[in-house]
């Protein structure tokens, strides 16, 4: 008994306290700051006028509705194009499956604005394809700005999420169920809808909610291609950078509303998932069929055309980066001039910052995730459960809200961190940590505690057991997750746009600045470097993990 009490004062208590302090400082304090900013006016009095302004002026309240509309449309379209893709991929022996898989993942992981930027150059009012169609066959394809543009860009970027989720579901369908339904006379399309989709319902739901959340919080796409179609994350940013100091309160108020809305969606998601929770495990998994005849050709055509269209923006940007250009004008011929211009515009520093901050953030995330997972799973207590709950908070905070919250919290002395690398790293850690913690907890739960007990009973200390036994067993799951975190970290835009300056600028931000200044060649060069960086990272991931399962 005595020893047990003494053991409680071990190193883990220190970790618990440290995490609580860090969360209080970097999560709770900024959140309270944003709340305070939204309800306290410049004279220090309490007011809800910013909230009344939002809800009473349709100019602003409309943005929520717009975001909902476009996100629902994106969800429907991604399901419509993603499910057939996954069905062909899972049920038939298509040629080049590996290629299809890798390219669709690459589409999904590209930087948030490259798609929008590239589609504007292709299909905008003076886009290459627009001009071609207009001059050669006299077809006017209309505007791709606004609702349609966001829908196009986001659907092509997010359908791989549906694809990956559905692949998992289809893999778990038992062949005998399909045979049984065939024996009962249910075949073809009818069987696909009634049996196959029915069995995958929980996954379809999970996938659509993930897509919806991503589309809803997306900032880069509507910023570039939204034009008059005003969405909620962009409005937060516009209010923040709008002229006039008092607007900060309004930006804070919209942020608070944003957090409430996303929290609501989050809980609906939890509820819906729990309603549909049934699990199936295939004893006899589906045997892939040989695609034959016209059907086979059509299937291949569908998959390859879809993936090519989705990947086109990234290829086009790389192509552009080698074209000669002057400001906004493309000139004939090819050269490395755009890369030279980029080198003069902080390319080196951008790459260095991206890598240094990315690795720094990743190291913090991995170490914290392992420690927090251990605290939550093996040391369940009130304080540790609080850590668990707190770590989920960033799930419901859109990136621009995190950016503004950090600026409000750390713009003043004694903790003046704005404009530094530190604040950027804090933002990256906050943005990504919840995902890594979830996967670390899931991994640790599968490791039986008896292994650790064996270590301890053989005389090792708890810390030693943790470091030499538990952590190595968790490593595989964590490392593969980490590479995906890395990609989202280097392509982070929505919080970085508020926190960057010339010292802590990243590749993503350099690319964004060039795009917003209308400097095509430069923008293409930065975007290409970014694209190459994400592609290389993902290929490393695929080689290391050797798996076709990917957790996004």
């Amino acid at each position: 008994m005595m020893t047990k009490i003494r053991k409680k004062f071990d190193i883990w208590i220190v970790f618990t306290v440290s995490f609580l302090v860090l969360f209080a400082l970097f999560l709770i304090y900024p959140m309270l700051g944003i709340l305070k900013e939204s309800v306290i006016n410049r004279d220090g009095q309490f007011t809800v006028s910013e909230f009344t302004k939002f809800f009473s002026q349709p100019y602003y309240s409309k943005t929520i509705l717009n975001s909902f509309k476009v996100s629902i449309a994106i969800t429907v379209v991604t399901l419509l194009i993603g499910i057939p893709f996954s069905y062909f991929y899972s049920f038939y022996r298509l040629k080049g499956t590996k290629f299809l898989f890798i390219v669709s993942i690459l589409c999904c992981m590209s930087a948030p604005f490259i798609g929008a930027y590239s589609w504007i150059l292709l299909l905008g009012r003076s886009g290459v394809i627009t001009q071609f169609l207009k001059n050669s066959i006299g077809i006017n394809i209309g505007s791709i700005y606004g609702f349609n543009g966001i829908l196009l860009v986001q659907s092509l970027k997010l359908f791989p999420l549906v694809f990956v989720y559905m692949n998992g579901a289809f893999k778990n369908i038992d062949n005998s169920l399909l045979e049984a339904s065939a024996n009962l006379g249910c075949t073809g399309i009818k069987r696909f809808i009634k049996i196959i989709l029915g069995l995958s319902m929980p996954t379809i739901l999970a996938a659509s909610l993930v897509v919806f959340m991503r589309a809803f919080a997306d900032f880069g796409t509507p910023l570039l291609i939204g034009e008059g179609y005003r969405t909620f994350p962009v409005e937060i940013y516009n209010q923040y950078v709008g002229e006039g100091v008092s607007n900060h309160s309004f930006a804070a108020a919209i942020s608070v509303i944003a957090i409430c809305v996303t929290a609501l969606i989050f809980f609906i998601q939890k509820y819906a998932v729990s309603k549909f929770k049934f699990s199936i495990n295939a004893l006899h998994s589906i045997e892939k069929k040989e695609p034959r005849g016209i059907g086979g050709i059509l299937m291949h055509a569908y998959c390859y055309i879809l993936v090519s269209i989705a990947f086109l923006p990234q290829l086009y940007v790389v192509y552009l980066s080698f074209r000669n250009s002057k400001q906004a004008v493309l000139l004939p011929g090819f050269s490395l001039a755009s890369y030279e211009a980029a080198a003069n515009k902080l390319l080196g520093r951008s790459i260095k910052n991206t890598i240094v901050m990315g690795i720094g953030a990743l190291a913090i995330i991995i170490v914290s995730a392992i420690l927090i997972a251990y605290l939550v799973v093996r040391r369940s207590s009130f304080a540790n459960n609080a850590i668990d709950t707190l770590s989920m908070l960033p799930y419901i905070m859109p990136g621009s809200v995190i950016g503004i919250a950090l600026v409000i919290a750390f713009g003043k002395k004694p903790l003046a961190l704005t404009g530094t690398m530190a604040i950027m790293i804090v933002a990256l850690v906050i943005r990504r940590m919840p995902y890594t913690i979830r996967s670390a907890i899931a991994t640790l739960m599968q490791i039986p505690q008896s292994i650790e007990e064996a270590g301890i009973s053989l005389g090792a200390s708890k810390l030693k057991t943790f470091v030499t036994i538990t952590v190595p067993m968790m490593t595989n799951g964590i490392i593969s997750g980490a590479i995906l975190s890395w990609v989202t970290i280097v392509t982070e835009l929505s919080s970085a746009i508020i926190l960057y300056n010339n010292r802590n600028i990243t590749l993503t931000m350099s690319a964004y600045v060039a795009i917003s200044r209308g400097n095509y060649g430069l923008a293409a060069a930065f975007s290409s470097v970014l694209t190459v960086l994400t592609i290389v990272s993902l290929l490393i991931y695929l080689v290391i993990s050797k798996s076709e399962d990917i957790k996004l």
């Binding site: 409309k62 034009e227 709008g242 404009g419 530190a422 010292r503």
Partner: protein, 360 residues
Amino acid sequence: MKKLIATMLCLSFLMFVGCGSVSGPASSSGGTAPAETSEQSDKSLSGPLILYSSMTENDLDNLLKGFGELYPDIEIEVVNGSAGELTARIAAEAGNPQGDVMWGGLNSGDGDIYSDIFEHWVTEYEADLPDAYKSPNGYYNMDHLSTIVFCVNTDLEKELGLDITGYSDLLDPKLKGKIVLSDPNSSSAAWNNLANIMTVFGEDSDEAWDYIEKLLRNDIVISTSSSVCFKAVADGEYVVGLTYEDGASTLLKAGATNIKMVYPEEGASGFAFGCAIVKGAPHMEAAKAMVNYLMSPEGQAYLGNALGTLRFTNPKAKYVSPYLPDDSEINWVIRDNNWLRNNKENILKKWNELYTKIRG
């Protein structure tokens, strides 16, 4: 593996501890020192200077060149962004200032809203300026003028069979959806255009709002960036952009042959735009040298000749601007800066309400 984890642990702690020191200002030089009467070209000045600017690349390249001739040892780094972005950044960094000077975007229609993020300091050249261009608040130094223009794509204009000379032409149904303006809530160029409409049609008058409503009903496009309003016109995305002289004429200078600038026949006017020193700028001496240069007759004459696209405020500066029409060719109207400053919020609110009513 043990080593890997240990290294990562160390690394993560180093990041936490180390990053704080990356950014500390080199020294707390300057503070709020009184304006000194430093003469031109104090070549001993050296070190970095961080310039926050919303000006075009053409403007910045030439400023760096001209300033660099006088101060070869000052290394300038430019942070680009819209006026709103940059002031938001300066306000955010107030506890730990990162920038030294802001150039562009600060206009005479702003009033005092930025007084807490800039140094209360004007140059000795303030006495040279005509009253209209004197600092409205003692924080800004007004160095150049920004007159509103229509940037018109001449190929598309001809295709549509139009001859655009003023505001009334913009209501032609042929231009439905083909006129672009940036968002007056966030862009000073758009606010500049709105202010001109107010001045031409009558401040807050029914005529002015009636005109704006018709413009919105003609599906005028509201873009997020002010540079779209001239660049995208040259690209052929739009026929007309409501923009400002410097932006449009810079394209003419770059060799664009498919655009022209139209000063509305009903009347044209502009805001004076300025530069200011960031409060507590880390490189105060260099910052003052930069603002002095921008306000001096020598600096303005150099930039005026080198750019050819910008009108400056100091009457002593002599230069020629081959890309701008002569004063006499423009129907100038005088705007009431005081009225605009005091009514900006109200006008933007009405604009937003009208926009919502029409666009839904």
